[in-house]
């Protein structure tokens, strides 16, 4: 067989039927494009949630007072006073899976300087806090152990606070602000961190020694939360178990007693949110699957609608000397050209969808090779099959029957 001839025949046939060719390709383009687009949006959002959560802190674990779950009902327990500085000391001494521990107490109030004021909260912690919560100093310094011990009235401000009180981009280090009527000297400023996954502004905060916040602002001796870092993400679960054991011992709880504290980890949060975004991915995948189906049915319809005309064409080609093989190869080449061209355009479309979505929703642009391969294969298989099948049927007819086909 002369392949250049057959390729020429096939390209001529496609040129003659541009509209049909475009419609067939459209089916493939929609199928491939939507699968790639949807799946990469799903994957991108999952990645972005992960990134945001891990940006909140490094393998963070929180311990909150009170058992938050009783009989399956969540109970508010901010007033519980079961956590103390002794717990922290004990954890620091005994734990193996924690790399950093800090108490956390916070008080909300109005920050005032000059004629400006702004509602914010002051968080009290120790010098490990920055490491645990992945904050960084932009300027100035962290408070010292000495300052913690002496209940020093020093603080480090977040960008939002600094911007509103001192103006955008100003350097507040060395200035004094008043928080709940107590003057604090600013010794540092935090680097911008942006919003967290819950949409809270992580820069609207003031950091001070926990002793200062505990005693001078809140006048309490217990602590509200313990924050800690597990040595690694994989060790998170062991770390939680270890904290529970140590604290139960420290709180002298008997077997069978409920915990009087609650431990939560960032890893758990990631899991919960990932499972939500997994569902999203599945939903998008289902939409993509439906598009693929619709595209496939589109291809099928175009092929079947044109079967009468094409059967006549096949009859004529056989009448003037085309062999069954010549005709099958012609139709295969046509189908492959359409599928490949449509597939490539579909892939580009999928990239475009993912790229635009990634920019609009500000999450990473992910290229999913499996999605590309899968959708491309499915669509070309459909395209090639439905291009080839009617041709095979027609090529088995007597030429005159094919010509007379209705």
């Amino acid at each position: 067989m002369n392949y250049t001839n057959t390729i020429k025949i096939a390209t001529n046939a496609l040129k003659r039927n541009k509209f049909r060719a475009v419609l067939t390709m459209l089916g493939i383009i929609i199928g491939v494009g939507s699968v790639i687009g949807m799946l990469s949006i799903g994957e991108g959002s999952k990645k972005s949630i992960r990134e945001q959560i891990s940006g909140m802190g490094s393998n963070m674990i929180f311990v909150m007072p009170g058992s938050q779950q009783r009989g399956g009902v969540m109970m508010g327990n901010s007033s519980a006073k079961s956590l103390t500085l002794n717990d922290i000391e004990r954890l620091e001494k005994e734990s193996q899976y924690l790399s950093a521990i800090s108490p956390q107490v916070s008080s909300s109030g109005q920050v005032v300087a000059g004629n400006k004021n702004w509602p914010t909260s002051m968080t009290g912690a120790n010098d490990k806090f920055l490491e645990i919560r992945k904050y960084e100093l932009k300027d100035g310094r962290m408070f010292t152990e000495n300052e913690i011990n002496s209940l020093a009235k020093v603080c480090i401000v977040g960008k939002t606070v600094s911007d509103t009180i001192f103006g955008k981009g100003a350097d507040p280090v060395g200035q004094t602000i008043r928080f709940s009527n107590i003057p604090f000297k600013i010794i540092g400023i935090l680097k911008e961190k942006g919003q967290n996954s819950m949409g809270q502004d992580q820069d609207n905060m003031i950091l001070a020694p926990y002793t200062t916040v505990q005693r001078r602002l809140l006048a309490i001796t217990h602590i509200q939360t313990i924050v800690a870092s597990a040595v690694s993400e994989e060790k998170s679960e062991q770390a939680i178990a270890e904290i529970k054991t140590i604290l139960r011992k420290q709180h002298k709880l008997k077997e069978g007693d409920d915990d009087d504290f609650t431990v939560r980890s960032q890893a758990e949060l990631i899991q919960t949110l990932s499972s939500v975004s997994d569902m999203l991915t599945m939903l998008l995948g289902a939409i993509a699957g439906i598009s693929l189906l619709v595209g496939g049915i589109g291809i099928m319809n175009i092929m079947f609608v044109s079967v009468t005309e094409r059967t006549r064409e096949i009859g004529l080609r056989m009448a003037v000397g085309g062999r069954g093989m010549d005709i099958l190869v012609q139709f295969l080449i046509e189908a492959v050209m359409l599928s490949v061209l449509g597939g490539i355009i579909g892939i580009l479309l999928g990239f475009l969808i993912s790229y635009v979505a990634a920019n609009l929703l500000s999450f990473p642009f992910v290229v999913m090779t499996q999605a590309i391969a899968l959708s491309f294969l499915v669509c070309s298989a459909i395209g090639i099959f439905f291009g080839w099948y009617p041709a095979r049927k027609a090529a088995n007819l007597n030429p005159i029957d094919a010509i007379r086909y209705e």
Partner: protein
């Protein structure tokens, strides 16, 4: 006398439509010699097209034998038949059967795509030549739907000639043409015939049949009469004598 090129023995063709069987050809015996220019005539539905389709290897008889140049067509494979249709037979369909949305030139080129060893340039040149022969030199790039019925018929004729066949089979090839153009086609066919080509030409116009050497008349699936044409028309002479008003 020339050698036999087409021999048909006890040929039958039945069509089954549900319960009903149509006997389109009933045990037909027929012989056509090389260089014959045969008219097949008969009423509508008498089996002319059915016969011609079988002679063109486009259809298979229900029973009986068809020998082309001594070879029994019943013994050939599909591919052998395709090759035969490609380089020995030229077929003109009653309903033209041109590829839609395809220029006249490309339609005529079609058979050559399936012949071996023809370069694109030669293909094009031969197609142009064939179209010129049927008087369509000005219509190379017209699509079928931009041509009149008669012009489409002539494209179909050009297509049947382009592969230089040994046998030309025409089904009502002048059915849609005016007198002058059909005479011109007859002139062309007579010329090809004088060069030794065998032509089988289905028609129901007695005037057209007189351009041929022999007339075979079908009725109801059988041959009822065969005659040699004694006072044969010469197309070239007739064209000369046509009234002038037909000129433009």
């Amino acid at each position: 006398m020339n050698k036999t090129i087409i021999k048909v023995e006890q040929l039958r063709k039945d069509y089954y439509i549900g319960e009903v069987t149509v006997h389109a050809l009933k045990r037909v015996d027929m012989e056509i010699r090389e260089g014959d220019f045969v008219a097949i005539m008969g009423a509508s539905g008498s089996g002319k097209s059915t016969m011609l389709n079988i002679l063109g290897c486009l259809d298979k008889p229900t029973s009986g034998d068809y020998l082309l140049d001594g070879v029994n067509m019943g013994t050939l494979t599909k591919n052998q038949l395709a090759a035969l249709r490609n380089n020995k037979l030229g077929f003109i369909f009653q309903s033209y059967n041109l590829l839609p949305r395809t220029t006249a030139l490309e339609n005529v080129e079609l058979p050559l795509f399936y012949s071996t060893g023809i370069k694109p340039r030669e293909r094009r040149e031969r197609a142009m030549e064939a179209l010129k022969k049927v008087g369509l030199a000005e219509r190379f790039h017209h699509m079928p739907n931009q041509l009149s019925g008669g012009q489409q018929q002539r494209v179909a004729i050009a297509r049947s000639l382009v592969n230089n066949p040994v046998v030309i089979l025409a089904d009502e090839a002048t059915g849609n043409l005016d007198t002058r153009t059909s005479f011109e086609i007859m002139e062309l066919l007579q010329e090809l015939n004088s060069q030794g080509k065998t032509i089988v030409f289905v028609t129901h116009e007695p005037d057209i049949a007189r351009f041929m050497t022999r007339n075979i008349i079908f009725r109801d699936g059988r041959i009822v009469k065969e005659t040699e044409v004694t006072d044969r028309f010469d197309a070239r002479e007739l064209i000369k004598n046509l009234p002038v008003q037909d000129e433009d």
